[in-house]
């Protein structure tokens, strides 16, 4: 069982857990991404997420499909929210259930890492001083791939 979605409503993490639950899958792993109050030393008041909806849905489904192949028999539900989010709001939730804990944990990790690299979603932070800025992970963190890495990956 695999389900992925880009949603505009609040994410209900317990509903995701219930969705992947089954008597045959004794290990459930949940990852939640929430809006935090400081980024690069600046006080954040909120976050605005926007997506290339059609492609983001496709790319997310593709990632889940890859996870299903890698982690045989995983139950997986992924939701990413777009729109205006407040501090502490859940922006992304990944629930994975498997017969074995290793696969359940690895599947959530795999999905969030791939999501951050590939899914066309953007966020604009709103700061205490009233300004707002699009986040560019290629300039603020070194862990993300450059556009060149991506284009080499699709060759």
């Amino acid at each position: 069982m695999i389900r992925t979605a880009i949603v505009t409503r609040p994410i209900d993490a317990s509903a995701l857990i219930a969705e992947v639950a089954s008597d045959t899958h004794g290990a459930t792993s949940l990852f939640l991404g929430t809006v935090r109050d400081v980024n690069d030393g600046r006080a954040v008041t909120g976050m605005e997420y926007t997506a290339y909806d059609a492609m983001a849905s496709r790319e997310l489904a593709k990632i889940a499909g890859e996870a299903a192949e890698k982690f045989d028999d995983v139950m997986l539900v992924v939701e990413h929210r777009t729109g205006a989010l407040a501090l502490g709001d859940v922006s992304v939730a990944i629930a994975a259930a498997h017969a074995h804990r290793g696969h359940a944990l690895d599947a959530t990790r795999f999905v969030i890492e791939q999501l951050k690299k590939r899914v066309p979603i953007w966020k604009r932070e709103h700061y205490v001083d009233g300004t707002r800025e699009w986040i560019d992970p290629t300039t603020s963190h070194s862990a993300n791939p450059t556009a060149l890495d991506m284009q080499q990956a699709v060759r």
Partner: protein, 80 residues
């Protein structure tokens, strides 16, 4: 042929539009498209190798663009 290029987030802000029209010759590639976009006033704000999607899939620089394709310039993604 005229191709509509979708813009998002920081790119939409830079170009002041959600999409732009680009005139391409038949057989033009992603790389050719990028060269055309760079000729526009806001084109200089693009990074050295921006991501481009054709029909909702990341496309390599050599990929050929056809009339009616859905083309998008993808700013550095920041989901999660």
């Amino acid at each position: 042929m005229e191709v509509r290029v979708l813009l998002f987030a920081s790119y939409a802000d830079a170009f002041g539009a959600q999409n732009i029209a680009v005139d391409l010759r038949e057989g033009a590639t992603v790389k050719d498209l990028l060269a055309k976009v760079r000729e526009l006033a806001a084109g200089h704000s693009l990074p050295p190798a921006p991501l481009i999607a054709v029909n909702q899939e990341y496309a390599a620089p050599g990929a050929v663009i056809r009339a009616g394709d859905e083309v998008a310039l993808i700013p550095p993604v920041a989901g999660g």
